[in-house]
């Protein structure tokens, strides 16, 4: 080697060394800029309403320097009383999502918004002149503004039809039954808030329900309730219920009838009993335990009955009768039990849809304004579009999907936080949806804006130029005072009109016969099919396109801990018949060579030959997250009646499939290991002084907890915990700070126990850290200094609760799909090679402490993120003195793993006898 070469190599190597070694802070710290530092004035909260299912749900949006970064509950909304569905809670992801459609596309070319809308309008004008028809499809919700616009446009020309359809049609079964039996068009919501015993016929109202916010908020009020469930699947509601009957899906009606006969007709309403025996004499009704009948007889006035909406019409009528008879006055209905909801829109839209099917040839244009038939499995509409010659499809959508591939004109929609709209709720309250941020995508349009422009184009009116000004003028007639508008924005709702919603429904003994005949006709036909498959729409799907959210896919299901995949659940006896094992691929054969291959999970506690899929469409997911997941395309199968399929066969494929599941801490919470919290425990380090009064403590009430997993999601969003993807979860590298474990009690009841960092007084993790990255604060918080951690993981090994998590992936890399605005500015992002855990929301504590110091108060209150969102308020947090005022009265409080003598600051409420 020459001297020159040597110096060259030396120079180059030293150059690379110099540039390659970054300053340690650069690689080791969060990238959130110091400009985001805490201030006490720039945080503002706005109230808005969002459509979930078909009803508006009230939420609060927190903004920092005019950028929304947090969604929390609005306790004063009378529809949901602070219960927020998880898809709405995490929908800020959709707002900042980089995969949203950026620009309109006309004939495969990217154009700007005015051109796209103009070309759409021109095509509409062409079809009108050709005397053909245009069909608009919108999602079904009750907005007076949109309703008035559609009426105006439809009156203007006959060739335009607006058809609003629900995401999943859960109305029709009850609606049609009420229509034929009572001659009145309504949908009854059963208010269960005042009931003490709830008898539930297969409705999973605590998880996968379009009315999840309505029912769960009412379930949580007025103390403990006894829940009795008849169901074919093993749902969260079944797990929460005190008595659970695992029965088959087609025998739910007969169980309901047996209760009607034994509890009511043989007891109080004897005049109806004879007619009942006349109609139902031949197939004997199933037997119901005597103790249950006695319980219901004694507390009949406090009973409430609810049933699955995706079931036969006769079940809907039976539950209505049960509710009617159990109330005090038979003639007329007290409003405490029923909330009626008129569905004039629904009825008229169904008629329009049927007429469209009859005269398809006259239609040329199909325009989808936020409604997607692929998403809601509407296969009649899909067939109609695909097989229609010369059909022109145009879509308005947040994302690219199967429908946008078919269409010639696609225009991006706005997120719900970007535009004004109004909704009318079930109790005739007008709710306002207000924007909190300017539209992030320049060439996007909102639904009311488009409707306004269409009306202006067709009628050639010279009104205002902007839809929001027009909307405000529309509402100005309701206001008597000037300030009233601002007040309504602050409250989130106002009453427009007051009408008497009480309906008189009287059943005479002569009518009763015809009702019973209707019930008998509508009975589900029992076939001896091998498998009874039920498709249960996931809760998230009711949020429409907002369910395209990686947070929701990584959120584990409470009962199984399944992440990312949508498997088929099989009963144990059925699996034994077929020789199917757990986590195996399975082929479902529908009629006409229609097949579906799925991974399956064998479940106990399910009756006979029932199987079910909790459906969500994963076509919408981003490609890099979708590649490891099994695609589930149910549109192949065809139309479902009540989402229930019979006459199918299930066969083995002979391949295994790995389903990502979260590891549980359930081994750590055996009943024997629970110990009573004792005041004078022997101390390991007696010299260490512990303050007793101002320690931060948390109490989790296990009687109240329903295991909805909202606390996990709220914690994840608050503390910037990244979404990792399926590959990482299979390696058990999840980063959730809270895990909900299941405790089986002696009376076969399940209790859900959220486990987070216990913030022990004598924390085992603190003593082993070689660099002192975890320490104990004087107010009892076990704190973690990320910039100090070197990742030795001794603390993880030494933690008996295994709540510490290790970052295998840098948070920056994991957040690559994100906009930085999504990140909570008050919490640091953790980099690779660092352990993390629950901090008791230390940023909130510091924030409140500083605020109180500036205002001159010595006391302050803090709500943690999990406490804030809990729908049943099972979590309480505060200083020791306030939360446990009497140290002697702590018999119900328990501590995890007392034999380790760590003295935790998280307590669990549990009755000792259970």
């Amino acid at each position: 080697m020459d001297r020159r070469k040597f110096t060259k190599i030396l120079g180059i190597s030293s150059f690379f060394l110099g540039t390659g070694c970054r300053r340690p802070e650069l690689s080791h710290i969060n990238k959130v800029k110091q400009d985001y530092s805490t201030t006490y004035e720039n945080i503002l909260e706005y109230k808005t309403n969002v459509i979930f299912g078909n009803f508006p749900v009230g939420i609060k949006v927190r903004t920092f320097e005019d950028i929304p970064f947090h969604i929390s509950k609005d306790e004063f909304n009378t529809f949901n009383y602070g219960v927020v569905p998880r898809s709405i809670l995490s929908s800020l992801y959709n707002l900042y999502d980089k995969n949203r459609m950026k620009s309109p596309i006309v004939n495969g070319k990217e154009v700007d918004l005015p051109f796209a809308i103009e070309s759409l309008f021109n095509e509409i004008a062409k079809t009108i002149t050709n005397k053909k028809k245009v069909a608009f499809f919108l999602p079904l919700f009750n907005s007076p503004f949109i309703q008035s616009l559609t009426n105006e446009i439809e009156q203007y020309s006959d060739s335009i039809k607006f058809i609003a359809l629900p995401v999943f049609d859960y109305f029709s079964s009850q609606f049609n039954a009420n229509k034929t039996v009572f001659n009145k068009e309504f949908y009854a919501l059963y208010d269960i808030s005042e009931a003490k015993i709830i008898i539930n016929f297969g409705r999973d109202f605590l998880e996968h329900d379009p009315l999840f916010p309505f029912y769960t908020s009412r379930y949580a009020t007025n103390g403990d309730k006894i829940l009795i469930t008849f169901e074919d699947n093993f749902s969260l509601t079944g797990a929460n219920s005190t008595i659970r009957f695992p029965i088959q899906f087609d025998s739910v009606e007969s169980f309901a009838l047996a209760i009607l006969k034994n509890v009511i007709l043989n007891n109080s309403k004897r005049e109806f009993a004879d007619t009942f025996n006349l109609v139902f004499n031949n197939p004997p009704l199933p037997e119901i335990p005597e103790s249950l009948i006695q319980l219901l007889k004694n507390n009949l006035k406090n009973c409430s009955f609810i049933c699955n909406d995706f079931h036969s019409a006769s079940l809907q009528i039976i539950t209505f009768l049960l509710n009617l008879f159990s109330t005090e006055n038979l003639y007329g209905i007290s409003l405490s039990r029923f909330c009626f909801f008129d569905l004039q829109n629904y009825r008229s839209n169904q008629d329009k849809f049927l007429s469209l099917i009859n005269e398809v040839d006259r239609y040329e244009q199909f325009i989808f304004l936020g409604y997607n038939p692929y998403f809601s499995l509407n296969s009649t509409l899909i067939d109609l579009i695909q097989n229609h010659p010369g059909a022109k499809i145009s879509t308005f959508s947040l994302y690219k999907n199967a429908l946008t591939e078919l269409s010639t004109i696609t225009i991006p929609l706005q997120h719900y936080l970007e535009y004004w709209l109004d909704y009318e709720n079930y109790d005739e309250k007008i709710c306002s949806q207000q924007p909190v941020i300017l539209p992030l995508i320049k060439d996007s349009i909102s639904l009311p804006d488009f409707m306004f422009r269409l009306r202006k184009f067709l009628t050639k009116s010279s009104d205002d130029n902007r839809y929001d000004v027009f909307l405000l003028n529309y509402y100005r007639k309701f206001y008597s005072e000037k300030n009233e508008f601002q007040k309504n924005i602050q409250n989130g709702y106002f009453y427009s009109k007051s009408t008497d919603r009480k309906k008189q429904i009287v059943i005479k003994s002569s009518e009763f016969l015809s009702i019973l005949k209707f019930i008998r006709q509508g009975f589900m036909k029992k076939t001896k099919s091998e498998v009874q498959l039920r498709i249960i729409p996931n809760q998230d799907t009711y949020a429409g396109e907002y369910s395209n959210n990686i947070y929701l896919y990584e959120l584990p299901t409470t009962l199984d801990g399944i992440v990312w995949d949508t498997p088929l659940f099989l009963s144990k006896s059925l699996a034994k018949q077929k020789g199917i094992e757990n986590e195996e691929l399975v082929q479902i054969t529908f009629s006409k060579n229609k097949n579906l291959i799925l991974p399956c999970i064998v479940k106990e506690n399910i009756s006979g030959n029932s199987a079910y899929i909790i459906y969500r469409n994963n076509y919408y997911l981003q490609k890099n997250f979708r590649k490891n997941i099994f695609e589930l395309d149910l549109t192949v199968v065809g139309n479902f009646n009540n989402f229930f399929v019979q006459n199918i066969t299930i066969n083995r494929v002979g391949k295994n499939y790995e389903i990502a599941r979260l590891q549980r801490n359930s081994s750590k919470i055996d009943m024997e290991k629970f110990g009573i919290y004792r005041k004078n425990q022997p101390q390991m380090y007696p010299n260490k002084i512990q303050p007793k009064e101002n320690k931060w403590t948390m109490i989790i009430d296990t009687h109240k907890c329903i295991g909805c997993n909202l606390c996990i999601l709220a914690c994840q969003l608050e503390n910037n915990i990244p979404v990792l993807g399926k590959e990482q979860i299979i390696k058990q590298r999840d980063l959730f700070w809270i895990s909900v474990s299941i405790l089986k009690m002696q009376n076969n009841k399940t209790k859900f126990i959220p486990i987070m960092c216990q913030h022990c007084d004598y924390a085992p993790c603190e003593s082993v850290c070689p660099v002192g990255a975890t320490s104990h604060s004087p107010d009892g918080v076990n704190e973690m200094t990320y910039s100090r951690c070197i990742g030795s993981r001794f603390c993880m090994a030494n933690c008996p609760y295994s709540v510490r998590k290790f970052n295998f992936v840098s948070a920056e890399v994991a957040h690559l799909n994100f906009d930085p605005r999504m990140i909570n500015p008050f919490v640091t992002l953790r980099s690779r090679g660092i352990t993390e855990k629950c901090t008791f929301c230390i940023h909130r504590i510091n924030f409140e402490r500083g605020k109180s110091k500036l205002q001159g108060f010595s006391e302050f209150e803090v709500t943690t993120a999990c406490q804030e969102i809990c729908p049943v308020s099972a979590i309480s947090f505060g200083q020791r003195k306030k939360i446990i005022p009497d140290d002697n009265n702590t018999e119900e409080l328990f501590v995890l793993l007392p034999e380790f003598n760590t003295i935790p600051n998280v307590f669990y409420k549990l009755k000792r006898n259970e």
Binding site: M1, D2, R3, F6, I9, L10, S13, S14, L17, G18, C21, R23, P24, E25, I29, N30, K31, V32, K33, Q34, D35, S37, T38, T39, Y40, E41, S775, H776, S777, P778, V781, E783, T785, Y786, S787, R788, F826, V827, T828, T839, I842, H843, N846, G850, K853, L854
Partner: protein
Amino acid sequence: MKKFISKKLILAAVFFFLLLDVFLIINYQRNGIGYQPIQNVSFSHKLHSKKKKTCLFCHHQAETHCYANLPTTKTCMICHIALKTESSLLKNVLYSYDSLISLRYIKINDLPDYVRFNHSLHIRSGIDCATCHGFVDEMDSTYQAKNFTMGWCVDCHNKPEKYLIKPREISGIFYFNDTTLFEKINFSDPMKFVKIISTNLTLILPQKIKPASTNCSICHE
């Protein structure tokens, strides 16, 4: 020649450069004292403190916020719309006032991103600006006076009486031990009038200087 350049020597050289790099990096971090960049506006704190402009006159956010602001162009133009408008030093300020392009300053006293420092809480406890920033009012062009390391912070938190400088009039942090002082203020003095309007707070100095808490989560959330 080939004998001279062996593998060991290359390794030694690489190792030497590596050590040098590490040494440089450490030195770069620690030795911030005396850092004095040339700013766009050659603002003299010394000159303005003679005119009895307090610190909070320009950095008013420090009193109520976490983050002490740098003054906007409009703050300068409160006085300089009429005063010394033809000075060559004001050229950049006037340009930004006309063109609506905000002034850019180079930050001198900079903390790493993982540290959360709250100005308002420190001012609330009666700590003068000079404790951390040095006597800026005597500087012609500003430089870093203290090394902003963690040890330095923790030292002061443990033994504040060693380091603290009591509030001076020039910093603008005014404080009352008794509220009667409020009445004694001479409202004919324009400077004090400005002070009262700018703050809604009445600051109360702690009676004794106590050591502050040193647990990690106070600064590292």
